[in-house]
């Protein structure tokens, strides 16, 4: 069976799942299955089909499993958002249309994505500017102590979402060029290979950028996500574990330093270690998340059947028992309503996407493609890990979105572009007759 036929086959169950999910919410709400669930399902399937036909024409050899997996996450997100608030699901569906448009534009205009290498410095400056935008007075906005949002009039977006793409593109390009230099002249001390000191320069620069994020953006999670992606890339480029060890050590020392000197970073860590010490204050959010998960159990309460609002409370998105349930804490609601099985299902989808992404990287034929695919996959997987980990208290709570499930336009758009880049790399790698070397 051809790759594209496999993709089409994969999309059918996704549409079915979406229809079933919407139907479940309808049943709980009004004890009847309205046509709307079918309309929603058909609409979603139509959009996916359009994207699929587009891929059939433009990228016939690309990985067949990636897009159905992405659609699956989107379907889960839409169902959960619909369960929270109908308006949110409608907005999110519209963002998906926009996201798919950018997905197609990326594939059309970056058919040869190697052009990105040429503009890498422009891209990295743009990326860093994006990251620091939330601290610009007047347009930056603070959520839960972290500076992750920008508000321009009625429009608000999270620049870190697009920033991560820029940083990964830059690093992939930079390391492709300098990887040999980093490996040459290494010394072995106590069985570990250490690079020469002068080549630690770029590492220090990126470490500095991560620390800057910690202090300026005040979000340990996004800082961890960027630095983790960097370590993944430098490890892929050099195959030297020593870089990773040195990098992690530097990060931990830096994080520890800022945790003890910068109050809000320390507070986050104290709350993580013992949320009960201020159960109605700083510990409130993560405790509500844990209580919701405990309520879910093995199989969950069922879609639409968990206690989302306190009895007598006004049913608004701001008023939910789980705070920020449509963005940061959507995973807690998934476990509440779909149980441990639902939660594991979502994690498995992310793991499968990671597997496909790294597969694409290993199939890629040139260094930049390999590094770009590995970096994009790493940053995507890390983002999922960092936010789910924060919600379930594996790490301190952070303010990034759950990719493709959380509500939010910037996240949807950035991740659709990310997927487009992976598919571009995949198509080139799997083409039966390789092009002549550039």
């Amino acid at each position: 069976m051809s790759a594209r036929n496999r993709e089409l086959l994969g999309l059918i169950p996704v549409a079915g799942l979406l229809i079933a999910g919407f139907a479940a919410v309808f049943v709980v709400r009004s004890d009847e299955v309205a046509d709307a669930s079918l309309i929603f399902g058909a609409y979603f399937f139509a959009i996916c089909l359009a994207a699929h036909i587009f891929l059939r024409i433009r990228l016939p050899n690309a990985d067949p499993y990636l897009f159905p997996l992405v659609a699956l996450l989107a379907a889960i997100g839409l169902v959960m958002l619909y369960r929270i608030d109908e308006g949110l699901a409608r907005d999110q569906a519209n963002w998906f249309v926009v996201g798919l448009a950018l997905f197609m534009l990326t594939i059309i205009f970056l058919r040869d994505y190697h052009v990105l290498e040429r503009y890498r410095y422009l891209i990295v400056v743009g990326g860093l500017t994006l990251l620091l935008l939330p601290r610009v007075p007047g347009i930056g906005s603070q959520v839960n102590g972290a500076y992750l949002g920008v508000e321009l009039g009625p429009l608000s977006f999270q620049p870190a979402e697009l920033g991560k793409l820029a940083i990964v593109i830059f690093l992939a390009s930079y390391l492709r060029e300098h990887r040999e230099v980093l490996v040459v002249g290494a010394k072995r001390i106590a069985g570990i290979t250490f690079p020469p000191l002068k080549h630690l320069g770029p590492m220090l620069v990126v470490w500095g950028a991560a620390m800057l994020m910690l202090v300026f953006i005040r979000d340990l999670g996004s800082s961890l996500m960027f630095f983790g992606a960097f370590l993944a890339l430098i490890y892929t480029a050099t195959n030297r574990v020593s870089f990773v060890i040195i990098g992690l050590a530097m990060f931990l020392v830096g994080a520890w330093f800022f945790a003890t000197t910068v109050g809000h970073v320390g507070d986050r860590i104290d709350t993580w270690l013992d949320p009960y010490q201020d159960a109605s204050g700083t510990g409130y959010q993560v405790l509500q998340s844990m209580f919701a998960q405990a309520d879910g159990g093995l199989f969950g309460r069922g879609i639409g059947e968990s206690l989302l609002w306190a009895p007598g409370a006004k049913e608004t998105v701001e008023n939910t028992l789980i705070p920020a349930v449509e963005t940061d804490f959507i995973y807690a609601l998934i476990v509440n309503e779909l149980g441990l099985f639902g939660g594991c299902g979502v994690i498995t989808i992310y793991a499968l996407i990671a597997a496909r992404g790294f597969k694409i990287a290993s199939l890629a034929r040139d260094g930049f493609s390999k590094l770009l695919a590995a970096g994009l996959t790493a940053v995507f997987a890390l983002q999922a890990f960092v936010i789910i980990g924060g919600v379930i208290r594996v790490i301190p709570l952070t303010g990034v979105t759950l990719p493709l499930i959380s509500y939010g336009g910037s996240s949807v758009i950035a991740n659709m572009v990310l997927v487009a880049l992976l598919l571009l790399i995949s198509d080139r790698a799997r083409r039966p007759e390789p092009e002549a070397p550039r």
């Binding site: 405990a294 989302l308 009895p311 028992l321 939660g343 498995t348 290993s362 390999k370 379930i392 594996v394």
Partner: protein
Amino acid sequence: MNVPIRRLLAVALVLFALLVGFTSQWSVFDAAELEAKVDNKRPLFEAQQIKRGKITAADGQVIANSRKEGDDESFQYVRQYPTGSLFAHPIGYSFITQGTSGFERAENATLTGEENEFVSIIDQIRGQRREGSDIVTTLDASAQQLATDQLQATGRPGAVVAIEPSTGAVKVMASTPSFDPNRVPEDLDEFNDADPSVLTNRAIQELYPPGSTFKVVTAAAALDSGAATPDTVLSGASPQTFSGVPLSNAGGEPFGDIDMRTALTHSVNTYFAQLGEMVGTETLLEYMDRFGFGKDPEVQLPDEQKAASGVFVIDDKRGGFKQVDEGFDLARVAIGQGGEEGEVRASVTQMAEVAATVANGGELMKPTLIEKVIDPDGRVTDELDPEVQSEVMSDETAAALAEMMTSVTVEGTAAGLSVPGAESFAGKTGTAEINIEQDIAQPWFIAFAPVEDPQIAVAVTTDPCAGCFGGEVAGPIATAVMSEILGG
């Protein structure tokens, strides 16, 4: 570069496995612990969304029901008590913040439809919300109303309990002053501070010296153990010395050598003091035990809202109330009083059980408030099935006692009373001395009717008053309540 890429995937899988591990910790392994946390308000919120069953009187009059507020997901049920304070004492209240009391608390599992894990999973699959069962009580609304009105008319706190002797069905449980359970969410503090207490169920939570009504217990022990017969003759002279202290009859009235029938009819203290000593401590306690003394009445109310009757050493200074089984002045305990070494205290429910036992041929039926339980699908899942709590005395003893108690109402201390609707009735007055100098006494009356085929047994008391006699204060309330229940 493919080796590091494979290793990266391995690292990613380890990280995702960590997420699975923590998710299972919160959602499954630590779930019970998390649900029990004080900071976790979810169980409380969920209780607000369960439709509690309706509680009705025997005639269907609604005592408690739940009103749904809000149509959306954040709906809640709020408890309502259409009869206000009338049934507040046996039924109690149930509110999320203020808690649950009385019958509402004792029958919480039935009223909230508590189920085992298996049934609740089935219900979840069927998409059914948990819903409580309705309970039809044995309570007689009009008799309860009458009892409450009559108690209020005395101007003093008091209580009435009426039980159907053959089934143990509690028809009346009235206690005044009462409170309106609808006002609990706003006024619980006010209720807590009220003096005299409005939250105390005087029918079962409070113990009083039973006075001469206790002579029925002494007589039962004497007759049934064989220590005496109705014809046993003893001196009714007054005063006579017991434990070195003179004991007088009511009003100091002397009697000659009399039998037990005459002694009970006229409530002769000196006769029963001697009878008590003839019976002995051990036998008297044995019969008290059979009547239910020494443990909480078995009716469906919370343990902390019931009191066990018995013989107590009362230490007023420390507020101590210690049950004793020896060393007390047997002669004075036998007439429902006592001394420093121990005195009898009984709840109104306990004394109603004494009357009901005599009425039921010596068998004490387990008292109950539940006529039937109806599940949300309309099926009757439980129905009053009369249960013998204990075999107190033989049929013959009970018949002899009944005959003597009838004499009380014909020619004795309750001669002026009658029960419209019953040809005859049996009773025993009680006037427990609280303060001899000021002539303050606790008035009591226990009775059952009709004598030939007893349908109802009753016990009444009110707080002590000066110059009060059981036959005058408590008697008329008892006869009125019995008459109401008998449809007279």
